[in-house]
Symmetry: C2
Subunit: 358 residues, 2 copies
């Protein structure tokens, strides 16, 4: 199987072997050593000196943790959305009683920092801004630094900056501390090339301060509890040990490769995937200035059915790409993050050429 959805991503043989290991005591020294490594290594990719919490949840649980640990019901929140996952971030804040204003950009486009700054200047100050680093549904990567600067120019104190980097971090550089991202969220099944089931969330000093006043209810996702247990490299609840084995093994390789090489590799494979689509006469859905290096949305032309193409890729070639929806556009998504080679991408296009020819 050539699994090319934007997560869960394939595991290397080494990671699979690690995942299938025997259980250990989650309150014992072997676990503490493993967990300590994972947190230390993650900080190299978050580029933060502050806490990174790792807990048992899907990425959506990580997004919820970012919100409930920093905000109170009634807080004014600006949700900047460029697709499905930006909408989800807004939905979570609303479910917990935040007063959410949505700033929605057309699918395929990135968020415009000037429009974000303009929106922030209207009405009472916002407590927080939510946005997505890499929108998985459209293959768009926002300019996180430019958005942070726009938000920081909005007032003093600036709104909290909560960034969903679930499908980007570990492949596309983000500097949490230097850029002023207060909370950054990612998930193990994306660029980290580990099994799903771990949310990883950085929590900077302004988020820490906000958490003292935040009144949204929380228990399972309470990062204050996580911080207490993290002092001895443990977690409050029983952790997702098998996924942690995999994440540990995968991070070991990523650290040995070096973050810059990891980012360069993703830039190369992203460009390669896009070029192959163009070479075949297919289109790219995303704004060319904001192509994602982890997932590409390829448009097929209005006369083709994405659903049928995806089924044929699977049935005839065992190539699994992702579906996605935009009004009047037939497209498929190709994931290229984590454990992926140029040959894997070649395999997708060879199969796609066959399917489209028939």
């Amino acid at each position: 199987m050539n699994l090319r959805i934007p997560g869960p991503t394939p595991l290397s043989p080494e990671v699979m072997a690690a995942v299938g290991q025997q259980m250990i005591n989650h309150r014992g020294p072997e676990f503490e050593a493993l967990f300590g490594d994972v947190v230390t290594w993650l900080k190299l990719f978050f580029e933060t000196e502050h806490d990174v919490h790792v807990f048992t949840a899907s990425g959506t649980g990580g997004m919820e943790a970012a919100i409930v640990n920093t905000l109170s019901p009634g807080d004014r929140v600006l949700a900047v959305t460029v697709g499905v996952f930006g909408d989800r971030f807004a939905d979570i804040a609303e479910a917990y009683g935040a007063e959410v204003t949505r700033l929605t950009f057309e699918m395929g486009q990135a968020a415009d920092p000037d429009r974000v700054a303009a929106k922030l200047s209207e009405g009472a100050p916002y407590k927080a801004v939510l946005f997505t680093q890499n929108e998985t549904s459209t293959g768009v990567t926002n300019d996180v630094l430019a958005l942070c600067k726009a938000i920081q120019s909005a007032g003093d104190p600036a709104p909290l900056i909560l960034v969903d980097a679930i499908s980007g971090l570990g492949a596309i550089r983000l500097q949490a501390d230097a850029w002023g991202c207060d909370v950054v969220i990612t998930g193990s099944q994306k660029a980290w090339a580990a099994p799903p089931g771990l949310a990883m969330v950085s929590f900077g000093p302004r988020a820490q301060e906000a958490s003292q006043q935040a009144r949204m209810p929380r228990f399972y996702l309470d990062l204050g509890q996580a911080a207490k247990y993290a002092k001895r490299n443990q977690t409050p609840a029983t952790p997702n040990v098998a996924a942690l084995y995999g994440l540990h093994k995968s991070l070991e390789g990523m650290v040995a490769e070096g973050p810059e090489a990891v980012y360069a590799r993703h830039a190369e494979i992203g460009a390669y995937c896009r070029q192959r689509a163009l070479d075949m006469g297919l289109g790219l859905f995303a704004d060319p200035d904001h192509y994602s290096n982890t997932v590409t949305a390829v448009t097929l032309g209005a006369d083709r059915s994405a659903k049928q193409v995806l089924a044929a890729l699977r049935e005839r070639h065992d190539v699994i790409c992702g579906s996605t929806k935009a009004p009047g556009v037939e497209m498929i998504r190709i994931g290229h993050m984590g454990y992926v080679s140029l040959e894997d991408i070649d395999g997708v296009y060879t199969a796609l050429a066959d399917v489209l020819a028939s």
Copy 2:
């Protein structure tokens, strides 16, 4: 390593091999078949014809899901607690704004149904009662049926019955539908002999009805969303695929063995573990009428340090038992659920005899 904590429990070689498999598309037919099997098989152990939701969380996340999907802030809730995990259930309800009354029984004792009934008759009606099937911290199993009857006698409609069966279900029989347990919670890393990271929660018709009015905020743990996706054997957020591989393989074996044989095996190994302790002149912490068949709390005598004994077991024999605390009592816990043999228990006592002799 002889891992004898009360979860994570050891994995069989077959389950380890399953856990270490390659990822698949969580929106594809292979996943849907796997997830459908898991839910179908779990219902045989929950003894329910209604929904069983499986989602990515520790058991604590399952407890939180039970509460936030059925209750509203201000609801009167009776929390019956016989130890650490009963206390946790109460803490979660309080964190979300329930008006919680605690009925606490002495550690080592079970909950007395008569006292529960008496408490329920005081003051305004309770919306829900929370209690634990098997208290992991003390090795006590409550009489769930007797507690359900006491609660059902309290009024019409009776309070909702939410049961934390995390460390009991799959080893100690519980009949969700026949006994009237509205929500029952368990976790993959206990009797199910799979990796941690999956909460499994049954949700009966009265819980379903209550969820329509329940106003506690929820998004990640919203079981209404889970029910929608369950119709096509999917989950709203990316699921814990590796743990599901393990749970599927383990359940396959448990179903082939048959639930009654599984319960009988746990009754046998529980009795064996207790007898070996008594044969060595050690004590048992739990009320003899309510011994747990999944975990035994063994008292060592006041002149011994449980901490030192646990360290010596680990360092000299690679036997990992659990710690637990009660005022003035030195004790250790031995887990015996899931993938465990009489020989594993012999190994614990052989090591313990050596440690205590020195």
